[in-house]
């Protein structure tokens, strides 16, 4: 039995008077202005914003296979430092997470490290080859209890296979997370198909490649009555399709990445591949539409698509570079800059899009819970007034290239707690 822990003077969801929160046995035991928690370890919150621990539906931890760029340990540390208490680890590892054996390995490694809950995402198709279904049932009934399935990095583009996947996963209480990209429309694509890429001579990735798959999959989900999740929505057109589908009560949810909320293709003029990502950075009109959609709930949540890459895969010519960027330790700050500061979301809203909705979509029952007595003590304390400057080498990830290098961002994670255990405090991993 661990010692009780008192968080003194925190503001739940950044609102109201500061309260004290007593944690006992991994749960929120008492809550109120007069809770004193005699004998407890005390942390002075000083009016910090308290949110439920963040949940990331879209993380690449790279283990097994590319432990030179990230491991479950380093990725867990980056997540905890970023305010996360749960991450969903994408299946495109080597070997691919398409069997019970691999997902159980990832799950157990995550549990042993213990900084965040690591929920493995299972591949939809064997080997991510897009040809036949992986053993979704075996992964669902494994110790990892997989509920989220995705071929992320690749699109399940075969219409019949996608239909079957949606139907089959439905029977497991699962959801298919689609990387929406018609591969025929993006052959050789390097950047958003717009003026910038055209002038720079970079082959275009048209929004229609994403939107056509989103439209198709919404119709398939409608007919199957199945749950569909759209990964990393990048275009204003996709937002319109989601609006249409949600109005018709189709069971579709969607995520947006921090980088698609903040960065645009205008950053490409120097050809620095830190800006290369899939789907690509698009235009200011797209970031605008995505921010509005997130505020309205048309896009349900923020997911990082944290994708570490080795220096040699980024410090090279643009077309040779791998797509993807770090995200776990910058996500909250980017959301503050793009959503909170402009008044599009309050802290209650941040809790919704970065913790509650992702936990619901990923079926993580004990995450994204209210900050209330009896609930699991998965919490993050945020100093909303602090700013910090991003330096890749100071981040916990093994890869250190980031498009945010040198950028000053608002908001700082002061403390993260997983089931009553402090995982990070003042930028340092605990325990």
């Amino acid at each position: 039995m661990t010692r009780p822990f008192l968080l003194r003077g925190i503001r739940r969801y950044g609102a109201g008077e500061p309260v004290n929160l007593l944690v006992r046995n991994g749960l929120i035991a008492e809550l109120g202005a007069s809770v004193d928690g005699t004998g407890a370890e005390i942390f002075n919150g000083g009016g910090l914003v308290a949110l439920p621990g963040l949940v990331d539906l879209h993380t690449h931890l790279r283990e097994p296979g590319r432990e030179d760029t990230e491991t479950i340990a380093t990725g867990s540390a980056a997540a905890a430092l970023g305010g996360y208490t749960a991450v969903f680890a994408m299946a495109n590892t080597d070997p691919v997470a398409d069997t019970a054996v691999v997902v159980e390995y990832v799950y157990r490694r995550g549990r042993d490290i213990g900084l965040v809950d690591v929920h493995p995402v299972g591949a939809v198709t064997a080997g991510l080859h897009g040809q036949r279904l992986a053993e979704l049932g075996a992964m669902a009934t494994s110790a990892a209890a997989v509920r989220l399935f995705s071929d992320d990095g690749l699109c399940v583009h075969d219409s019949l296979l996608m239909r079957r996947a949606l139907e089959y996963a439905c029977g497991l209480g699962g959801v298919i997370a689609q990387h929406a990209e018609d591969p025929r429309l993006t052959a050789g694509a390097q950047a958003h198909e717009g003026r910038v890429a055209a002038r720079l001579g970079l082959a275009g990735w048209p929004p229609a490649a994403e939107e056509s798959i989103v439209a198709r999959d919404c119709l398939l989900a409608r007919d199957a009555g199945a749950a569909l999740h759209i990964c990393h929505v990048s275009s204003a057109g996709t937002v319109e399709l989601l609006r249409w589908a949600k109005r018709r009560s189709i069971r579709v949810s969607a995520e947006v990445t921090p980088h698609h909320l903040l960065l645009t293709d205008e950053r490409l003029s120097g050809y620095d591949p830190v800006n290369k990502v899939n789907p690509p950075l698009r235009t200011a009109a797209d970031t605008e539409a995505l921010r509005t959609a997130l505020a309205e709930g048309i896009v349900d949540c923020v997911a990082t698509d944290h994708a570490p890459h080795a220096a040699q895969d980024k410090d090279c010519e643009w077309s040779a570079a791998r797509p993807g960027m770090l995200g776990l330790q910058t996500a909250l700050s980017v959301v503050i800059a793009t959503m909170v500061q402009p008044g599009l979301l309050d802290w209650r809203g941040v809790a919704r899009v970065m913790s509650e909705r992702p936990a619901q979509i990923g079926r993580a029952a004990d995450q994204g819970r209210p900050i209330a007595v009896g609930e699991p003590a998965n919490l993050v304390l945020v100093d909303p007034d602090a700013t910090w400057t991003v330096h890749g080498v100071q981040l916990a990830s093994l890869a250190d290239n980031t498009p945010y290098e040198g950028m000053e961002l608002p908001g700082r994670v002061v403390l993260t707690m997983l089931r009553g255990q402090v995982t990070t405090e003042d930028g340092k991993v605990q325990g």
Partner: protein, 323 residues
Amino acid sequence: MRHLLTTAGLPRKTVTALLDTAEALKQSLLGREVRKLPTLRGRTVVTLFYESSTRTRASFEIAGKWMSADVVNISAGGSAVAKGESLRDTALTLTAMGADCVVLRHPASGAAHRLAGWVPAHVINAGDGTHQHPTQALLDAATLRERLGDLNGRTVTIIGDVLHSRVARSNIELLITLGARIRLVAPPTLLPRDVAHWGNALASTSGDWPVTVSHDLDAALPGSDAVMMLRVQTERMHGEFFPSAREYAISYGLTEARLGLLPEHAVVLHPGPMLRGMEIAYSVADSPRAAITEQVRNGVHVRMAVLYHLLAGRDDQTPGEEV
């Protein structure tokens, strides 16, 4: 000027200085038996080519040699590159050996930009993917200036595969800087996105963007002071960009009849290599209107001028005494 990576955002003053230098070099070499200037003695120029090339590579080599630079040619096929070495490492190796200038041709757009950030040497972009080929645009401008004089207010019609053409992109940017108007004629499948509205697409450039688009070659020819034919790359012929080579030639080929639609003074340019009978009729390529061999000749002088401006480090001067 430290590098020559793109014609976008290149100041008009710099362009004019380069063209003036090229012209001065051409005049001074005219009729000489020994075409050798001592200007770049002791300087090492490396041409690093990741794509096959005959004319551009030879042109740079001759330009360097006529200015007494030591020129080393490296092809990707027969070198460490074939063993998997990265562009960055190859370039660092070459500059460690003392290369003062790297002339790079590479299939990746932006490769020269990246190289300029990696090595201490001067970098000349000799073609990067579908992005830019600045010395080609300069030699085209030099040729047009010889034939037409000042390019201010002139209309240059560029015909063919603009989408995949670094020649077109370089020329559009450079000719606009020199005051010309650009008309692009191509099937919609071979035009880059929004090409008539690129003016503010990059932070380094802004404002006036006199580019128009048309799909009707016959209508475009009478108002043209020059036409620039682009090579149709064979790999495009099977990429659903147009139905057949025959249909392309009928719609966009510069035939004898179409030559007659051009004004008397109009110039015909082609960057080569040409596909006679495809984008340009056999006889048109040899007609007095065509300036194709002049383009090649000017290429050497333009590249001498670029090497001079980069390596002799004098932006606004033309070579004087030593010429």
